[in-house]
Subunit: 401 residues, 2 copies
């Protein structure tokens, strides 16, 4: 699964980076508050009496790394990683949950080309597994546009965070409760605000041509459509929890009507590197968790067939043929073939079972000093080939890789 | 560096596995004692009141994984991993040290073919970097042979561990101190013991043909020689610290007379899986740390030239050429070329610097609607090629990969 993802991101020039899973707790406390860090992460005091946390997400780490090496790095900087992340899910159970998450980040460009590339890449990864645009929707919104909308209603600064959090929860809570919450925050203007928020055209009408957020939104959607990414929907109520996003945000959803779950998302976070002193570095990125992706692929029957990196398993039927088996294996490896030697196959059936269990596509059973090689497919599907030389084996394998 | 290693181990049919870096502390306490675990590892109490440790080595983890899944796994099982390992080096400084270590393990075969394969692989990895057998020596010993030697001197069981530990330290301590230590342990017989231990032929003479350990040792050395691995030296004082080794052990040393450091090592540990209930699974393996390997390669000027996975960087000289740049990048990616788009190059010099900094081998600077592409090497070494089509660019890049 990861190899398909890596191939896709490397097509766009992204390079893999790594980092230690342990971080000082301050890295997360600053943005999410002490309570959340101590409740939801794996945090402990080390022998140096410092509070350390097993990273629950990668973005603060990569932002700090980029900020620290700002001067030596060449921008646009394209980085990806597939780190293990840790959550302490349920304090009662005290269980540590570990999962893997692809993180893709593009640092440097402040123009929309970066946002477009990141969303394109997000879409391409799902398509690389065989998903089509009917399988998922890309919801897109702009924090800038929201700020403009709030401005147009003259919503005071101090109410904006609560309002945003309420909108974030809109689809999860009862409609009346949501409306009441907005009314409590905004008073008289709440009716008109909800009226505008509920229909995209009304937002367009209200903000009109003076809106930069709106202009950007249309520019992105048009650019994506040109690349045949047509499953993009401007969704003004899309919020995404993380505070660090500054402009375009997006989230990919399963279109399955019975399970319209969120698959993953990302956005632009231009100010995060600022936390680590110096000028901010513009950044756009997303994170894609392995479990959610796997569930999505499973439900669409798109899990890639596991292919072993080992091409052929070789065994021999007599003890005296063992040196010959070793020699031939060495020669095949020299030709670029990955060979697993089984040794003496006392029961040939066990040998075939071994290859099948390990998903090694080809098998070869050898006797002493033979000059021809009967290479079989390990599922014994009938297809077999008598190869007159090792070169023929290599060609057969390379053609069917 | 890791890609070269991965390629080499996959030639032999080894498959990559992964595991969480956090382990219950018991996993290490059982074998190395509580004191060592609490002093040298990163151990802490989690909120569930369990003692957990960031893994200082991988072997106990992989042994536990194999033991747990013994029934479903197909043997011979070839597994490798390049995990991050953690040590708490200096309690005063309270510093966490993280490093990476290749771990290669072959589970299943109890015969010498496994030991031979593992040592061959260890040697091949160094050779894959360009090292020759003049650059390193493979010292090899057998715990079984040592047991036979101890038997022949009728050394009591209770003294064997202390004696082994003393022999392990032989090259690090003063010769007189070593001799005195052996005398204290063995009494009268110590003179003869030291006399035999110091010359391989005397060991051969003493153990003679009845010795299985000696027979195995010669069999391995002969088999390795047949594969042109001639830098193997039987070294009866080689001990390797870990208690879990049962038979053949080996350690690779730098031949540099000024710095004859140990590079890495491994051996057979047939009983480790036993700790995790059920029958033991025969196993041979080794671990190779990134820092030691890097230092060795550095000293021999063998560090592989870093090659970016990105093949070409593309920029354009006018804003109006940007869509054209995007389109061409998409088409090249479709042809299997990894493309990093730079965007508008206001200063072409900055663009070339960017490609060079990121070690991207080729650059292309585009204007609008051009039908020909002048592809340059990013070091601007003079070599450039006017390509008449995108296919030509793809061929140029693939030929020079």
């Amino acid at each position: 699964m990861f190899r398909i993802i890596q191939k896709e991101v490397e097509k766009y020039g992204y390079l893999e980076y790594g980092a230690s899973p342990l971080e000082p707790s301050e890295l997360y406390v600053a943005k999410t508050g002490e309570e959340i860090v101590s409740q939801q992460t794996y945090t402990f005091i080390d022998r140096g009496n410092r509070s350390v946390t097993l990273r629950p997400e990668m973005t603060p780490t990569v932002a700090r790394m980029v900020a620290a090496r700002r001067r030596e790095l060449g921008f646009p900087l394209r980085w990806y990683s597939i780190p293990n992340l840790f959550r302490y899910e349920n304090p009662q159970k005290g269980r540590l949950r570990e999962h893997y998450q692809l993180n893709v980040d593009l640092f440097g460009p402040s123009d929309l080309s970066a946002d477009i590339e990141i969303i394109t890449l997000a879409s391409n990864i799902l398509k690389a597994f065989g998903a089509t645009e009917k399988d998922f929707t890309i919801k897109i919104n702009s924090r800038l546009l929201l700020r403009e909308l709030f401005d147009s209603f003259e919503i005071p600064e101090e109410k904006r965070q609560s309002l945003s959090k309420l909108i974030d929860k809109k689809d999860k809570i009862d409609k009346d409760l949501f409306n009441a919450g907005v009314k409590e925050l905004l008073g008289e203007v709440s009716h008109e605000f909800l009226n505008v928020l509920s229909v995209n055209q009304r937002i367009t009408d209200r903000l009109q041509s003076k809106s930069v957020g709106l202009k950007q939104m249309f520019e992105i959607i048009t650019a994506l459509e040109k690349q045949n990414i047509v499953n993009v929907v401007f969704t003004p109520t899309l919020m995404r929890g993380f505070d660090y996003y500054t402009d375009i945000i997006f989230e990919v959803f399963d279109t399955d009507p019975e399970n319209p779950r969120s698959l993953f998302g990302g956005g632009r976070y231009n100010n995060l590197t600022e936390l680590f002193q110096g000028d901010p570095v513009p950044a756009v990125g997303f994170g894609m968790g392995d479990v959610t992706l796997q569930n999505f692929l499973l439900s669409r029957n798109l899990i890639p067939k596991y292919k072993s990196e080992t091409h052929i398993a070789i065994a021999c039927i007599s003890e005296t043929a063992l040196p010959h088996m070793q020699e031939i294996s060495t020669q095949l490896r020299f030709m670029g073939i990955n060979v697993s030697t089984y040794g003496l196959a006392k029961q040939t059936g066990d040998f075939y079972k071994y290859a099948l269990k390990n998903k090694i596509p080809y098998v070869l059973l050898m006797s002493e000093n033979q000059g021809e090689y009967l290479v079989k497919e390990s599922d014994l599907g009938g297809s077999e080939k008598l190869c007159k030389s090792l070169e023929e084996i290599a060609v057969l394998i390379k053609e069917n890789k």
